[in-house]
């Protein structure tokens, strides 16, 4: 009925009284790069482990190509996986490691040699066949692990925070490699990470996990511009939240009272409860800042506490009434920057159409 390649349906996972995965439903298209993003303990790794067959769901079903995976043990699922820790077989050489899945499948020797060569070329490690894993850097080991996971052409590749042990520069380098390999092979990738930047850089779509369930699924742009929950808004990109009172609700929009008394209307409201207050999301780069010397009033008044030059951006820290501090980001060379200095009273304004409020 559905055209989904992988269907995850209402899966739950309990460990005694602890619920690791509450209720996850998700469709993944063939060839898609899907990332599970969330903090540790949000259920993203457990969900991946259920796909790998290391964990069995308490309830629900996982289907690949329309057939349930749950009756198949790990070693028969024909799924590739790269782990967070280094999992190359330390007693085997790089070539033997990559050949391992093929030898298990009793592939003829000549084919094994050809496939191993191809896989090592794919991860740009030609000529490393005879090296022992212990003599390679972490980045190289993870690339060999990637070659080993792809050498038998699995339809699905699972990656469980494969780059978390590497330093930032190397991580970005391998992220680029992973993108290239995804494009070259067309393999469907399920990628787990807690690093939003990594998720944004790699994925076609991102599923944001929080407390055992998915808060929102969408492209990085959608998650950033149209967050469905306060958690997603806070997890993706930099954000300021200010506490406001809900004055009135008109359909999916609301009129809010800001600290200092000003009212804004027409703010998109995401309701999670009938509360009288709402958290207003203001992205740092979407706030206009101006010296408060006459001219029209802004939505908020404040005082500059700190100015940090960061190269392409300058971060201005503004204290608003009630002691709350907001971060305002201004691109390099922008006219708004002229004349800003610490202790200067400023007026802040924003376009109500482009912000979001989360009613609690």
């Amino acid at each position: 009925m559905t055209s989904a390649f992988i269907e995850i349906r209402d899966i739950k996972k309990h460990y005694g009284p602890i619920t690791a995965v509450k209720d996850v439903t998700l469709d993944i298209r063939k060839g898609e790069f899907m990332t599970f993003l969330g903090p540790s303990g949000s259920g993203k790794s457990t969900t991946l482990y259920m796909l790998a067959g290391f964990e069995y769901p308490t309830a629900g079903d996982i289907k690949l190509n329309g057939r349930t995976l749950l009756d198949t043990p790990s070693h028969k699922r024909n799924i590739g996986m790269v782990f967070q820790r280094y999992t190359l077989f330390p007693h085997l050489t790089v070539g033997e490691n990559v050949a391992f899945p093929l030898r298990i499948r009793r592939m003829p020797k000549a084919d094994v040699e050809r496939k191993v060569k191809e896989a090592l070329r794919l991860v740009r490690l030609e000529g490393f066949e005879d090296r022992k894993p212990a003599l390679m850097s972490g980045g190289q080991q993870q690339r060999v692990a990637l070659a080993r996971a792809l050498v038998y052409d699995p339809p699905v590749l699972l990656m469980d925070e494969p780059l978390s042990a590497l330093d930032k520069k190397l991580r970005e380098e391998i992220q680029f490699e992973i993108r290239r390999i995804h494009q070259e092979t067309g393999v469907t990738i399920l990628y787990v990470t807690h690093d939003q930047e990594e998720a944004l850089r790699l994925s076609d779509r991102i599923a944001v996990f929080s407390q055992g369930k998915i808060d929102q699924i969408g492209s990085g742009q959608t998650l950033y511009a149209e967050p469905a929950t306060r958690f997603v808004a806070g997890f993706i990109g930099d954000s300021n939240f200010i506490d406001t009172d809900v004055v009135s609700v008109e359909g999916s929009h609301a009129t809010l009272a800001l600290p200092g008394g000003k009212l804004v209307s027409g703010v998109p409201l995401h309701s999670a409860g009938p509360g009288k207050t709402a958290a207003l999301l203001l992205r740092p780069e979407r706030i206009d800042i101006r010296a408060a010397d006459g001219g029209p009033d802004g939505a908020l008044k404040g005082t500059i506490r700190d100015i940090t030059f960061l190269g392409n951006n300058t971060d201005v820290l503004v204290e608003i009434p009630a002691g709350k501090q907001l971060s305002v980001r201004i691109p390099f060379g922008h006219p708004m920057l002229g004349g800003l200095k610490p202790a200067l009273p400023v007026a802040l304004s924003f376009n109500p159409e482009t912000v979001h409020a989360f009613q609690g």
């Binding site: 043990p73 070693h75 699922r77 077989f89 899945p101 298990i104 212990a134 080993r148």
Partner: protein
């Protein structure tokens, strides 16, 4: 000025090292006096008593009875080692992967058995294995056998008793080695398509081989020179090497032959140890 400044710390280190050496001196003297000297003395007696020459060694190798004792000893030590590894490996694996309370319980049982007096354990086996013992009675009662099996006063009894005593020496080093293997490596093996047996033979076993070798060597060497269990559970017809040495020294007061037999044992042990170092000594796991 600069010269003395750079020389002084070096001198101080050297002086401290000398002081440290002085502290080890009593221990070194002790080892020399009570370990090295007797071994050298025994070796000396083996080539000087009753006359100077290698006649004691020639007699050991040339006499059929003695050759059989050597063969018995190596056979029993080999079988005991093999059985200890075959039985001990799964136990070590279970200890490594069992959830904490259960693992600790099994561990406690093994340690307690090790702490129980050796003679008590050996006599217990004598009672269990004798013609009218629990094992024979049970087997007859179940109708498996008609007549009691000869389980004691022969090499079968020695092998059973010694395997029991040696098991912890295989299990304990293996637990550490198996625990050090990251379970994620075995999960990776499973996703690569390896079933449980293939994961065991191609990943777990090769990775734990240094532990197997260490345990096996320890057991083999201990078994070669073991005295109490062969003396109690073995028969007079099938002597082992340590019993022979004891007989030479105690009954026959033949220090030459006794020394020669003991020295042969020592050389074999050292050779095995060297071989183990050669093949597994430098290898590291993980």
């Amino acid at each position: 000025m600069a010269m003395t400044a750079t020389a002084a710390p070096g001198e101080r280190v050297a002086r401290r090292r000398n002081a440290a050496f002085a502290w080890t001196l009593p221990a070194l003297v002790l080892i020399l006096l009570f370990f090295v000297t007797p071994v050298l003395g025994l070796m000396l007696r083996s080539v000087t008593e009753p006359t100077l020459g290698l006649q004691n060694y020639a007699e050991l190798i040339g006499t059929g009875t003695y050759a059989r004792i050597f063969a018995n000893t190596f056979l029993v030590a080999g079988v005991v080692t093999a059985l200890s590894v075959v039985i001990g490996y799964p136990v070590a694996w279970a200890l490594a992967v069992l959830p904490r309370p259960w693992g600790q319980l099994v561990f406690a049982i093994i340690i307690l058995s090790m702490w129980t007096n050796l003679l008590a354990r050996t006599y217990a086996w004598m009672v269990l294995l004798q013609r009218t013992g629990v094992i024979n009675k049970t087997l007859i009662g179940l109708g498996v056998i008609d007549k009691p099996l000869a389980l004691v006063n022969n090499l079968v009894g020695v092998t059973i008793g010694m395997t029991y005593i040696m098991l912890p020496f295989v299990i304990l080093p293996l637990v550490g080695v198996i625990r050090a293997i990251d379970p994620a490596i075995l999960r990776a093996g499973a996703l690569c398509g390896a079933n449980s047996w293939q994961c065991f033979t191609r990943i777990l076993l090769p990775l734990s081989l240094p532990g197997v070798a260490a345990g096996a060597l320890m057991v083999f060497v201990m078994a070669l020179g073991y005295y109490v269990t062969p003396a109690l559970l073995g028969g007079t017809a099938n002597m082992m090497l340590a019993e022979m040495v004891a007989q030479f020294v105690q009954s026959l007061v033949n220090w030459g032959m006794g020394g020669a037999a003991a020295f042969v044992l020592l050389v074999v042990t050292l050779a095995l140890y060297a071989a183990q170092l050669r093949f597994f000594g430098t290898r590291r796991i993980g």
